[in-house]
């Protein structure tokens, strides 16, 4: 048990793509892997222990070293700014961060308000644009904010854009492309370098193949 490499996986959207990537890299994951409700899944044959965490929490587990590796979206990495190595761009779960709002509206001159799940990213973005805004942190259903007048704009991830359209919102600015990353704890990166390097090489090969 001692030598299992612990990998923090994000529950939800990214999980299946990440599991698929590991399979393509030749790792034998049990078929019920995706359906399990367990939070800890040991795959002893491959020497892995997977922990299933909320996407936003993955870098936290890795920074504290309770997980050696993790798969986290770039959005989460930018928001959390954790002290971990970002080793590989996995090129999965591609989406982008965008500023959106009701069509044909301007930001309030006196106190422009922006609602988001990513307060740090949003604050940095508007500061870099030279705009002073007030950030309101929400935990989900961000699209609601401009509809009922909580904020003028939202900053959120967009993958297909359907949620925006269905709620009558439009995209104002595309901030950056987001993909998932392979991250590693700085101590594990050195103490377990052989296992980590092997995993990185095998996954890098798959990404290369997919182009």
């Amino acid at each position: 048990m001692e030598d299992l490499i612990t990998i923090a996986m994000p529950k939800g959207r990214i999980f299946e793509e990440a599991a698929e990537l590991l399979r393509q890299a030749g790792y034998q994951l049990p078929p019920e892997f995706e359906d399990s409700r367990k939070l800890i899944i040991d795959v002893e044959k491959e020497g892995f222990r997977f922990i299933l965490a909320k996407p936003m929490d993955v870098p936290t587990y890795v920074e504290h070293g309770v997980a050696d590796l993790g798969i986290a979206g770039k959005d989460v990495m930018l928001e959390e700014e954790r002290d971990v190595y970002e080793l590989l761009d996995l090129n999965i779960s591609e989406c982008y961060l965008a500023v959106a709002g009701l069509p044909n509206t301007k930001m309030n001159d006196v106190a422009p308000k922006v609602a988001t799940k990513y307060p740090n990213v949003a604050a940095r973005y508007f500061r870099e644009q030279g705009e002073q805004v007030e950030i309101i942190k929400l935990n989900g259903s961000i699209e609601l904010a401009p509809l009922i007048g909580l904020a003028d704009r939202i900053v959120d991830i967009v993958s297909t854009g359907r949620t925006l359209i269905e709620n009558g919102l439009v995209e104002y600015e595309r901030m950056m492309t987001i993909t998932s990353r392979l991250i590693v704890n700085p101590v594990s990166y050195r103490m377990k370098d052989e296992q980590v390097n092997e995993l990185v090489e095998r996954i890098a090969e798959v990404i290369e193949r997919k182009g």
Partner: protein
């Protein structure tokens, strides 16, 4: 602010309860005595320093400093590390003839904590500084001493990664041409963002050979062979010199017989911006953060008016204890439980036991309610109850 509960402490502050205190002082003793055996002299500096001297010379980020004002309006800081205060003392008092100086410390340092639990804002560091010695032997000595001290502390599985900050600077400068561009790339290393590093390199206007060199740089990690690969990447004299220094260091550590735990990692850069050459971090099993770090800082003493080099390391006591794992609870204290009639006898017995070095606790039976539970805590209990000569 809502009213504080009696038990609350400022964010990141921790209590050291007796059991932990005991474990801590054992580890501390082991490390300190090893340092003393190597000829390092212990010293202390004040917990408070001026912000304008030690605060600004220190490499700890400004927002991590605890600041306060004295009654003349000067800004003070709680020392965030010990290297800078020791450089201040060495430069102003101890370094008369620029003779090599070997100093050591064991002290609490303070770094404000804004985020969440799991990281203390006050922690103890034990470290050494070898000042006014610019030879690679001094770097080798501090690494060998660190290995030795960790072993004395009981750490079995650990690894030291050694890098060279001047090599990184020279390589980037040579390929990228300007300080500014080199710094932009180095930032990705500080942020440990290799994905960003690779993307940045690909976006630069460079020959494919130079791009490949920068990408290959990320692979300069491993054993002795890394130095050969590094020499292939670097072309200028200063960069080669850095690798020569690393080679010398490697040979010195081999002569100490301590290379088993040593690895090279040229991608290692440190937030401690005063490092100028060789730098290293040490890691242990089961601890998610480095347990110590160190390196050569040849410019720090200049800030205090002396031009000379120095090298050293600091170990974090809290993380070493974490690496040692479960505190082993060893009960060695004995108890003499007495009643008034045999008090004097009890005192004499306790004195005799203490004279033999046995930890002995004296307890008047009148002060204890639950005798069984009380006596259960001790390795041995002597009952001196009732009239002398009758049952004991």
């Amino acid at each position: 602010m809502s009213q504080l509960f009696m038990f609350e402490k400022p964010l990141g502050m921790r209590d050291t309860l007796p059991e932990l205190y005991e474990a801590k002082s054992q580890v501390q003793d082991a490390i300190e005595s090893e340092m003393k055996l190597w000829g390092y002299q212990f010293m202390d500096t004040p917990a408070l320093e001026y912000y304008d001297t030690v605060g600004t010379a220190s490499a700890i980020l400004d927002q991590q400093l605890f600041k306060l004002l004295d009654n003349q309006g000067h800004t003070l800081v709680l020392r965030p590390e010990m290297t800078t205060p020791i450089a201040r003392v060495a430069a102003s008092k101890l370094l008369q003839e620029n003779l090599p100086l070997r100093l050591a410390y064991s002290a609490s340092v303070f770094r404000a904590q804004q985020r969440e639990g799991g990281r203390p804002a006050e922690f103890e560091q034990i470290g050494v500084e070898a000042i006014a010695d610019e030879s690679v032997s001094a770097d080798g000595e501090v690494i060998a001493l660190m290995v030795s001290a960790l072993r004395e502390a009981g750490i079995k599985s650990f690894q030291i990664s050694v890098g060279h900050i001047a090599f990184v600077q020279e390589l980037f400068l040579q390929i990228l041409g300007t300080e500014e561009r080199a710094q932009a790339l180095t930032k990705f290393l500080y942020e440990k963002n290799f994905v960003g590093y690779r993307e940045h390199v690909k976006s630069l206007n460079l020959s494919s050979i130079d791009k490949q060199r920068l990408l290959d740089f990320l692979k300069l990690r491993g054993g002795e062979e890394v130095m050969e690969r590094a020499l292939c990447l670097i072309e200028n004299e200063k960069g080669r010199e850095a690798i020569q220094k690393l080679k010398q260091l490697w040979d010195i550590v081999v002569d100490y017989g301590e290379q088993a735990n040593l690895k090279l990692d040229l991608t290692l850069v440190s937030h401690m911006s005063y490092y100028t050459g060789i730098l290293f971090e040490v890691y242990a099993d089961k601890v998610g953060f480095p347990i110590g770090n160190g390196g050569r800082y040849n410019l720090l003493l200049e800030k205090f008016g002396k031009t000379t080099g120095a090298t050293g390391f600091a170990l974090r006591l809290d993380r070493i204890l974490e690496a040692l794992g479960e505190l082993k609870k060893e009960v060695t204290t004995e108890c003499v439980l007495f009643s008034g009639e045999r008090r004097k006898e009890a005192f004499q017995l306790a004195k005799a036991k203490r004279g033999q070095g046995i930890k002995t606790l004296l307890q008047d039976i009148q002060g204890v309610r639950n005798i069984d539970e009380f006596t259960g805590q001790f390795a041995e209990v002597t009952f001196l109850i009732g009239k002398a000569g009758k049952g004991s």
